[in-house]
């Protein structure tokens, strides 16, 4: 306790915290009289105050002695006094200094009050001096009310994590801001000076209030157009997430002005105004958290800046604190209109895109190079197979070989600028983004740029520092493919032995090619042809083996060719720096340099044995051979890839586990596609995770992975697979073994090894077909399943092909979100492959569609949409009505549109009360952040999903089901109607997630009231069962419901039972007529309660069942219920704790 006191003694609010602490003690210690406690407290407090006051006194005693006299009742008033004193001192000094040199001191910092945190350069004393001189203030103690800026050079990690609590929403700025402002003799905008560590999350703060305060500040302080020093505005806007939301609609107006804020407005400000402009449509629908989704449809922003905007705007969400939730596949949820709205520029939005993974790889150069080979092999299969045999023959017969190495000159740049002849001799670099921040890495630079020192891998900003007029181009993958194809066409035309190294680099074995004998001539022909066809230059090296040819190309570049005849090889090598040899990287180079080996000539001095001893057998031999120009590799031997995988380590930021799971399943999709693309299956799966190192700061590269620990787990399965679902299951399992905080993850990769060639993928087909059989049997739309495969293709390949594709993607996104279950979503996918029938359309979505899209849809549906909507409106039906309609319609097998519309009426009357209730109650529980307007779409898609198999389970034998392998069982259970599933699952899989169950039952309306079993008896406050019991005609149920309120609504069952135990015996068994129903619902209640509590509160279950056992001794009904539920209880215990509950009665 004393520790706590002395710790909190520094804070101005220490009074309160002390009292709180003591109160706590009072309330919990029962045996002490409050009186003595009180006096106790007073004594302690006063002691403490004395101690600290003394300490403070000693500091300031030289200045004033008034502290000693003033009777401080406690520490709080001491601090108030001290602060006042310090302020007075400051004021006095300030007036003194401004008098002394009034000429220089212009009050530029008027209204600015800084707080210096930690070590800064210049020191806080110097800063204080500046503030004194220029009309600002420096606070010695942090206070939200007085401080306007926090100055610091560096922040510890903990403060960055808890930035809001540390800074109270105030700007955290580097001391350079003060210095530069003094130098400029005016108050500069602090925005560019914000702390680097916060650069990624601070703009969200500044974005808002800079806009908000700027109109005011323009009036108030003409000299400071962007004045952030408006503590009131900040305070009000940053008190809590909700108030920020609320004030969004206000921003709508000032946004127009923001463009006018000239003067100091810098890049960031521009960005900010961008953000808020984008937010305008969203704020008008009153849901700021959904902002991120509507954006891309309006703005064709350059890729990375849109990423930034996204980042900033997403920070407005109350839940998002410091962690940047960039990788927001998650945001996609519940937003059908976002994809519907923006089909035209899908590829721009990397984040709200549900297919981030896909798009990521679409935009990755490394991926392009990596997958290019497959493409190449498919294009030139005959070549790559054909010449292998001949090559071995000729090798034996022809002693003198000739190898040409052809390499395009700075391929990635020259392809892009071949259509810009004016750029030919200007410095150009290719980079995925050219945003002003300049943290993107240059992937390739042309020769003029290289002359300036620009290199691949450099940050754009560094490159621009070296070469200010450097022009940055984005990738053009189509052009790369085209040129690469042309390149290889030429090579294959001239030579039948081509070994592709990369898309722009190849070896040719021209030993037995009869081209008038001269490989040099051939090389120049090829180069000339390449230039004519592609418009890009290539260099060539000619030598007797691959090593020397490659080295020759090095000399030849750019746009030249070089021949190293065998007799000159030695000379050439002797001066060659070792770094130039392929296979020697940084590490090896360093090691060799330590041994004083700089050139190949020096390397040759070392014996093979000692090389092998130092560097290992293989590397040693390689070094020995290469330094002598010996290379025994044959042209044309393409190594089979040993593993296939995909890894993303850029832009990976997760907010919660669900994000991560989504991402993982998308990654699996990608890997599965790659496996299928290569026609192989794999058995070993390795999940690699890059985890942020504990002390790592936000990486310099925008959204990069920074410093990471690399973790990996792998598992091997008996049967090779390329199936998405299997991959997903395995990867999920693997991921589970890491036990990581998902926020720390910076990269994820899945690698598949032990590859086997796919044997026509028979097994996968079987699995799929079984499933589609199940679905097709149940679905009344028979044509659906035949479209199964095409639907899948469409989903994977094209997202933009028409509205139906969009809707398809939508509902998939939705259902994935529903329970993260791929097979479910596939079921859904199967179903929506065709244009959904008219009756399936969601009115809510339709009505909120943009007019153009709506008219397009209307066309597709033959103008029936308008009628439907009109009808809908005329009856003023809620949206939920329509969703229940079509589900019902499907059960009836009425697929005819006209019929569905006819059905509309009666169905509504039947279903809506039930349906509405569920929707309103279930949806909030399931949706984490979905907007209400979208929520309707979710139950709709869910309805469609599970109604596929109407009541066919009665034919399924549970025992058979149990015998089935796990995967099959899961598949079948997935397509079962919900009410049956619950029974089965309690036997077979008692771990169906509660929410999903809850939802699934909502569409269960087979008519009779008994079977409408509500599975969410424990949801809500008061729990649903209370209402149910209240209206029941069974006395004991009524009593229990009553007890719920009496027991104080804790949500626990035991207090209720405890009270009910005193109910007289004759009331327990009251009415025989309601017996069955009462027993049934009690059973259900208990089962659900067990499920709810089994994991975390077995004490409660134990108490309940002890009480129940006592009920059972008195009442037949309860005995019945007890004996029925007891096995279930024991099974749950066995599953969770590996034992049986032991219930003993102690009375």
């Amino acid at each position: 306790m004393s520790l706590d006191l002395s710790r909190s003694a520094n804070s101005s609010g220490s009074q309160r915290s002390k009292r709180g602490f003591n109160n706590n003690n009072n309330s919990t210690s029962s045996n002490r009289s409050s009186n003595s406690n009180d006096s106790n407290k007073k004594k302690k407090v006063s002691q403490k105050t004395l101690g600290v006051a003394w300490g403070a006194n000693s500091i300031s005693s030289s200045r004033s002695s008034s502290f000693r006299k003033s009777p401080f009742s406690d520490f709080g008033s001491y601090m108030v006094e001290k602060n006042r004193k310090l302020q007075n001192q400051f004021d006095v000094e300030a007036s003194a200094s401004s008098h002394s040199d009034s000429g220089s001191g212009k009050p530029i910092f008027h209204g600015v009050s800084i707080f210096v945190d930690g070590f800064t350069v210049p020191s806080s004393q110097e800063l204080r001096g500046y503030m004194l001189k220029h009309g600002g203030r420096l606070e010695n103690y942090f206070s939200r009310r007085r401080v306007t800026h926090i100055i610091c050079s560096n922040l510890p990690d903990s403060k960055i994590k808890n930035l809001r609590s540390f800074s109270g929403g105030l700007p955290v700025v580097k001391p350079m801001w003060i210095l530069d402002s003094v130098a400029a003799n005016k108050l500069l905008s602090w925005v560019p000076y914000q702390l680097d560590q916060l650069a990624n999350n601070q703009p969200k703060l500044s974005a808002f209030f800079a806009l908000k305060s700027s109109p005011q500040s323009q009036d108030a302080l003409p000299c400071a157009p962007v004045c952030p020093g408006n503590p009131e505005a900040e305070d009000s806007s940053f008190k809590g997430g909700t108030s920020v939301d609320a004030s969004f609609s206000d921003v709508g107006e000032p946004v127009e002005h923001s463009g006018l804020i000239s003067g100091e407005s810098n890049n960031l400000m521009n960005k900010n105004s961008n953000v808020s402009l984008l937010e305008e449509p969203a704020s008008s629908c009153g849901k700021p958290s959904e902002v991120t989704m509507t954006k891309p449809s309006n703005f064709d922003v350059e890729d990375e800046s849109s990423v930034r905007n996204e980042l900033q705007s997403s920070h407005y969400q109350p839940s998002a604190l410091v962690s940047s939730n960039f990788m927001d596949i998650h945001n996609m949820k519940g937003s059908p209109s976002s994809t519907v709205g923006g089909p035209s520029n899908q590829h721009h939005s990397t984040l709200e895109d549900p297919n981030f993974v896909e798009n990521y790889f679409k935009n990755s150069r490394l991926h392009f190079i990596g997958t290019w080979r497959n493409r190449y092999r498919k294009r030139f299969p005959s070549f790559s197979n054909g010449f292998k045999f001949t090559s071995s023959n000729t090798k034996a017969s022809a002693p003198k070989t000739a190898v040409i190495h052809v390499d395009m000159d700075c391929f990635f740049v020259s392809v892009v600028i071949r259509s810009h002849p004016e750029m030919q001799d200007k410095p150009v670099a290719v980079c995925h983004s050219d945003n002003p921040k300049g943290t993107a890495e240059i992937s390739s630079a042309n020769y003029p740029a290289r002359d300036y020192g620009v290199r691949a891998g450099m940050f754009v900003r560094d490159a621009k520092a070296l070469c200010p007029h450097l022009v940055i181009f984005p990738y053009n993958f189509e052009a790369y493919e085209e040129v690469a194809d042309q390149f290889y066409n030429i090579l294959h035309k001239h030579c039948n032995k081509v070994q592709a190294v990369s898309c722009d680099e190849a070896f040719l074995d021209v030993t037995d090619t009869d081209t008038e004998g001269d490989p040099q001539l051939l090389a120049s022909t090829i180069r000339k042809e390449i230039l004519e066809t592609t418009g890009c230059t290539a260099s060539a090296g000619i030598a007797e083996n691959m090593l020397m040819a490659r080295l020759a190309t090095r000399t030849a570049k750019p746009d030249g060719q070089c021949c190293i005849p065998p007799e000159r090889a030695d000379d050439y090598l002797s001066q060659l720096p070792i770094k130039a040899l392929p296979g020697i990287g940084h590490v090896l180079e360093e090691k060799l340099k330590k041994q004083n080996v700089w050139t190949c000539g020096q390397l040759r001095m070392i014996s093979k044995d000692s090389l092998q001893k130092d560097f290992g057998t293989k590397t040693g031999e390689m070094l020995w051979n290469y330094s002598r120009g010996v290379d025994n590799r044959l042209v044309g031997v393409i190594q089979e890839s040993k593993s296939i995988g995909a890894e993303v380590n850029w832009g990976v930021r997760f907010k919660d586990v669900k994000d991560c799971q989504n991402f993982l399943s998308n990654l699996c999709k990608e890997v599965s596609l790659r496996l299928q693309g290569c026609g192989v299956k794999g058995r070993t799966f390795t999940l690699k995770i890059k985890k942020r190192r504990k002390d790592a700061e936000e990486p310099a590269k925008y959204m990069g992975c920074g410093e990471c620990e690399n973790l990996s787990h792998s598992t091997t399965v008996p049967v090779a697979t390329d199936d998405v679902e299997v991959l997903q299951r395995i990867s999920k399992q693997l991921f589970g073994t890491f036990h990581l905080d998902v926020k720390e993850i910076r990269g994820l990769g899945l690698q598949v090894s032990r590859l086997e060639s796919a044997d026509n993928s028979k097994q996968a087909f079987e699995r799929n077909s079984l499933k589609s059989w199940l679905i097709s049997a149940s679905a009344s739309t028979k044509e659906l399943w035949s479209n199964d495969s095409t639907a899948k293709d469409r989903f994977n390949i094209g997202q933009g092909d028409g509205v139906s594709g969009q809707t398809c993607a939508n509902s998939v996104g939705l259902s994935i979100e529903m329970d993260n279950n791929m097979s479910d979503s596939e079921a859904c996918l199967n179903q929506v492959s065709e244009l959904p029938p008219l009756c399936h359309l969601d009115m809510g979505v339709l009505e909120s569609l943009p007019p153009e899209l709506f008219s397009e849809l209307n066309e597709i549906y033959g103008r029936k949409l308008v009628d439907l909507i009109a009808k809908n409106k005329g009856k003023s039906v809620s949206i939920s009505g329509s969703s229940s309609t079509h589900s019902h319609a499907r059960v009836e097998g009425a697929m005819n549109e006209g019929q569905a519309v006819l059905l509309f009426d009666p169905v509504l009357h039947n279903e809506i009360p039930v349906e509405k209730k569920h929707i309103s109650e279930e949806v909030p529980a399931v949706l984490v952040s979905g907007a209400e307007s979208y929520s309707v779409a979710i139950p709709a898609s869910c309805l469609e999903k599970t109604d596929l198999m109407p009541s066919s389970l009665s034919q399924v034998d549970v025992t058979v089901l149990q015998q089935l392998p796990e995967e099959l069982k899961a598949d079948i259970l997935e397509v079962l109607p919900a009410h049956r599933r619950q029974d089965v699952s309690s036997n077979v899989l008692s771990e169906v997630p509660l929410e999903s169950k809850g939802i699934k039952t909502t569409e269960n309306h087979s008519g009779s009231k008994d079977s409408v079993l509500d599975n969410n008896l424990w949801a809500g406050t008061p729990p649903q069962w209370v209402d149910k019991f209240k209206v029941s005609n069974c006395l004991i149920l009524n009593i229990l419901a009553e007890m719920y309120y009496e027991a104080g609504s804790t949500g626990n069952l035991s207090p209720i039972l405890q009270r009910a135990i005193s109910v007289p015996k004759h009331q327990l068994d009251a009415s025989q007529d309601g017996w069955d129903e009462a027993a049934h619902i009690l059973r259900e209640l208990l089962k659900q309660y067990i499920k709810l509590k089994i994991e975390f509160d077995i004490e409660e279950i134990y108490v309940c069942f002890c009480l129940l056992k006592r009920f059972a001794m008195k009442s037949e009904l309860f005995l019945h219920v007890y004996t029925d539920v007891f096995p279930y209880l024991q099974a749950s215990f066995g599953e969770n704790y590996g034992g049986n509950l032991h219930i003993s009665l102690k009375d």
Binding site: D1097, I1098, G1134
Partner: protein, 204 residues
Amino acid sequence: MERRDIQSPQGETARILVEFLEVAISSIVFLKGVYPAGAFERRRYMNVVVQRARHPQLRDYIHSAVSALLPFIQKGLVERVAVIFFDIDCIPVERFVFKLTVNQSYGSKLEEADLEFSLRSFLIKLSVSESLTRVLPHDCRWEITAYFRSLPQASTSKDAELWIPSDTRLWQQPPLLTPIKSMNSEPLCVQLYLEHPSSCEPKP
């Protein structure tokens, strides 16, 4: 001033939990009367009277055992911590099991007082739950065993070396469970229950 560095909530939770386990295990050992009552002394922890071992070796054993768990609890690797009493044949007679769940993604600041309130109830309940337990045979022994969700990598910390694989025999039948106390709060869930051999357990 709010300068005080705030520990990660997981670290804080783990620290509190480890401290609690040390006290609770001492209480259990006292409760079972393995050692004479004089081997313990009354202390106050969280404002309730608890027993602490006086013998330095006993105290050290309990202390070092649970503190070595700290890094693993922090990472959420420890699933259960059991205090096992067994007879001469190393067959368990009674097991006190703490089932732990630490929310790994719990981000906000920890309310230590709330946790203490819940943890205190364990200690109170323990002191009155002797009637639930069984009488131990004469010369029994005991040990602390931790069950991990996955095996920790060997090199995680040198503390790990303090923990060795256990050779206590297991029951062949699923045991009978008697819950003693559960708490379910953020970011920590602890359940304490007793495990006894089931009646059909074959006697050696």
